[in-house]
C-alpha cells in the first residue's frame, strides 16, 4: 500500500462522492436538492427522447456536475463506428456540460444488432489493436478523452493471450484514454476467473484513472453477477481503499440499479467511502 500516488494525467477533477441518477429519485432530488457532490447519468436514457427524463436532467445539471456513462458505444465491436450516435452523445454532453463521458471496454452487438449487454472481447493482440484504433477514432471525433470502464466478465476466450488487466493497461496507455476503475467489477471478474484482485489492481496505470465505481453484486456460488442491487460488500471496500491509496482521490460513484432504495440510503452508502478517503489522508500527511 506504500506505492507512489499518481494524479490523473489530464488533471480532471476529483468530483468527490456521487451516485448514479435514476428516475426513481428525480422528484426527490428536484424538490429537496440533497447533498451530493455529483451525478452520473446513463447516456442512452437521455438520447432520442424529449420527455420527462430530460426535463429533470436539465434542472439537475444546473446544480450538480454531471458525468456521462454509456452502455452501447460498443468500442470493441467490429461493426463500423456509429458517428450518428457520437453526434448524439456530443450534443447531450454539451447540453448537460458533462465533465466527461465514457462507456465500457466491451462490445454490445455486431451485424447492426444490439444485445444491450456488455460482451467481453478476447484479450488478444488483434483485439487490442482493434480497440486502440477505435478509441482513437472516437476520441478524435469527440475531441475529448473517453473514460472506459473495466466490465464484469463471465467467460474467458481460449484465444486470449494476456490477462484482462494487461489488456486494459495497454489500451489506456496506447490509445491514451482515461479509465473508470470499477472495483466491484474487479472483484466479480476475479471471482469468476479465479484471479487475484490485488494483482489485478497493481497492474492498473493509475495516472489514467479518473473515476471509480462502487456497487453491489449477486453471489450465485458458482459465479458472481454484477447486479447493482445492494450494498457494497466489505471485500470491495477494501479494494477501494487500496485504489484510493494509489490515486490520492478520484471521483467516486455508487451504482444502484435494481431494487433501488430511497435516496437517503444511497447517500448513506456512498458516504461510507468518505471514511476510506479520510483514513488514507490521515495515513499520508505529507501528501495532503
Amino acid at each position: 500500500m506504500s506505492q507512489e500516488i499518481l494524479p490523473n494525467r489530464w488533471k480532471l477533477p476529483d468530483l468527490g462522492l456521487g451516485v448514479g441518477l435514476r428516475t426513481q429519485h428525480f422528484r426527490y432530488i428536484t424538490e429537496r436538492w440533497p447533498a451530493m457532490d455529483w451525478f452520473e447519468i446513463l447516456s442512452e436514457n437521455f438520447i432520442d427522447t424529449e420527455g420527462r427524463p430530460l426535463y429533470f436532467l436539465d434542472q439537475i445539471a444546473e446544480r450538480y456536475p454531471i458525468a456521462m456513462h454509456g452502455v452501447c458505444l460498443s468500442v470493441g465491436s467490429t461493426d463500423p463506428v456509429d458517428f450518428e450516435f457520437l453526434d448524439k452523445l456530443r450534443a447531450l454532453a454539451r447540453r448537460v456540460k458533462a465533465v466527461w463521458l465514457g462507456d465500457h471496454i466491451c462490445w454490445t452487438g455486431v451485424a447492426g444488432l444490439n444485445g444491450h449487454d456488455l460482451y467481453p472481447v478476447p484479450y488478444t493482440e488483434e483485439g487490442l489493436r482493434h480497440m486502440i484504433a477505435r478509441v482513437r477514432i472516437i476520441q478524435d471525433y469527440l475531441e475529448r478523452p473517453l473514460v472506459l470502464e473495466n466490465p464484469s466478465t463471465y467467460l474467458t476466450f481460449a484465444s486470449s493471450s494476456m490477462p484482462e488487466e494487461e489488456f486494459i493497461a495497454r489500451l489506456a496507455v496506447e490509445a491514451d484514454c482515461a479509465l473508470l476503475l470499477d472495483v466491484n467489477n474487479v472483484y466479480v471478474t476475479c471471482r469468476n476467473h479465479d484471479l487475484d484482485p490485488v494483482a489485478y489492481l497493481d497492474a492498473i496505470p493509475y495516472e489514467h484513472v479518473v473515476q471509480i465505481h462502487l456497487a453491489g453484486h449477486s453471489d450465485n456460488g458458482t459465479h458472481c453477477i454484477d447486479t447493482h442491487d445492494g450494498r457494497v460488500i466489505d471485500e470491495v471496500w477494501q479494494l477501494y481503499a487500496r485504489v484510493h491509496a494509489r490515486t490520492g482521490g478520484r471521483a467516486t460513484l455508487l451504482e444502484w440499479d435494481a431494487k433501488v432504495p430511497k435516496f437517503p440510503v444511497l447517500q448513506q452508502e456512498v458516504g461510507k467511502a468518505a471514511r476510506f478517503r479520510e483514513a488514507a489522508r490521515v495515513a499520508r500527511p505529507a501528501a495532503a
Partner: protein, 292 residues
C-alpha cells in the same frame, strides 16, 4: 489453442452473438447452423473457444449471457405492456415476446424503439378472436404511450393565441398538432378496458366495437382518452394539415342536419383539445406556419 485455429475477432463476435441470442439457450446456440458455419470447431470442442471455470462449464458461462439477453429485454417489454400482459397471461405474453425478439432483435442504441413493431407483430402472431384482437388494440395504446413519452417537445397554443384567431379567419386556418399526439382507430373498446384494469379485479374482454382513442403528452405526463367518431375524424383531418373548413366538410359528410349537430359540438371539442394542449401552431391563409 494453436494460432492456426485462433478465430478472428470479427468471427468470434458474430459467433458469440449467434450463441447468446439463440432462443433455446447457449447449448442450442453452439449447435445452431449460423454458429457452426462461423466456428465449426466450437460445436466439436467448445473448450477450444471458451474456457471453463473451476465451477462452470464453457456452455454454462455462455449461458449467463444468453440468459441475461432475454431476461433484460423481457423485463422491458413487460414494463411497457402491463395490460397486454394481463390479457394474455404471463406465460403467453413471454412466449410472444420471445418470438418477437427473435423476429425483431434490437437494432438501436437506445431501448426506446425496442418494441415499436410489437403491436403489429402481435396482430400476426396471436390467434384470431376477441382476446387476441383486444390484446392487439391494448398493445397499440401502450406503444403509443411510449411514443408520446419520448416525442419532441412543442409548446401548446395558449388561450390568448386561440383568441387571436379572428372569427372570419377560422374557416381558413390550419392548426398544427403537437408531435406527442397519436390517433388510434381501434376495433375494440381497449381504452375502457385499460381504465377498468387500473381498478381492482379483472375486467371482462368485450366484444368487437369500433372505438377512437387519442394518446398525447401534456407537460411530461402521457394521457389517453376516447373520442366521439366525428370528433376523431375532424382531429385526424386537422392533423393531416387540412383547413378547418375542409376538415369539417370531410367529417360531417354532405347532410345539413349533420352539420347543425356538428356545429353544436364543435366548440366543446376545441375547448377539450385546447385544454389538452394538442395544438402548437396556426397557419393563416397565405401566411407562414407559426410556433411549430
Amino acid at each position: 489453442m494453436s494460432l492456426r485455429n485462433t478465430p478472428r475477432l470479427e468471427t468470434l463476435e458474430h459467433w458469440m452473438q449467434a450463441v447468446v441470442m439463440h432462443p433455446e439457450g447457449a447449448a442450442a446456440g453452439v449447435r445452431s447452423r449460423p454458429a457452426r458455419k462461423l466456428l465449426p470447431q466450437a460445436a466439436l470442442d467448445l473448450e477450444s473457444v471458451v474456457l471453463p471455470s473451476r465451477a462452470l462449464s464453457s456452455v454454462g458461462r455462455l449461458d449467463i449471457y444468453a440468459h441475461m439477453y432475454y431476461a433484460r429485454l423481457l423485463e422491458i417489454l413487460a414494463d411497457e405492456y402491463p395490460t397486454t400482459r394481463q390479457i394474455l397471461g404471463p406465460d403467453a405474453f413471454e412466449g410472444a415476446c420471445r418470438r418477437y425478439l427473435q423476429r425483431h432483435p434490437s437494432k438501436h442504441r437506445t431501448l426506446n424503439r425496442l418494441s415499436e413493431r410489437f403491436p403489429a407483430f402481435l396482430a400476426k402472431y396471436l390467434p384470431r378472436g376477441n382476446r387476441g384482437g383486444f390484446a392487439v388494440d391494448v398493445a397499440r395504446i401502450e406503444r403509443a404511450m411510449e411514443d408520446v413519452f419520448d416525442a419532441p417537445r412543442a409548446e401548446p397554443l395558449t388561450a390568448a393565441e386561440f383568441a387571436a384567431i379572428g372569427a372570419d379567419e377560422w374557416q381558413r386556418v390550419r392548426l398544427s398538432v403537437i408531435p406527442a399526439l397519436r390517433l388510434l382507430r381501434l376495433k375494440y373498446p381497449a381504452n375502457d378496458y385499460m381504465n377498468a384494469a387500473r381498478g381492482k379485479g379483472r375486467p371482462r374482454i368485450l366484444r368487437s366495437r369500433a372505438t377512437f382513442a387519442i394518446v398525447y403528452r401534456r407537460g411530461y405526463q402521457a394521457y389517453r382518452r376516447d373520442q366521439d367518431p366525428a370528433q376523431f375524424k375532424l382531429l385526424t383531418a386537422l392533423a393531416a394539415g387540412k383547413t378547418l373548413a375542409v376538415a369539417v366538410r370531410a367529417s360531417v359528410g354532405g347532410r345539413r342536419g349533420n352539420a347543425d349537430r356538428f356545429a353544436a359540438k364543435l366548440g366543446g371539442w376545441f375547448r377539450e383539445w385546447a385544454a389538452a394542449g394538442l395544438f402548437c401552431g396556426v397557419e393563416r391563409h397565405g401566411a407562414g406556419r407559426r410556433r411549430r
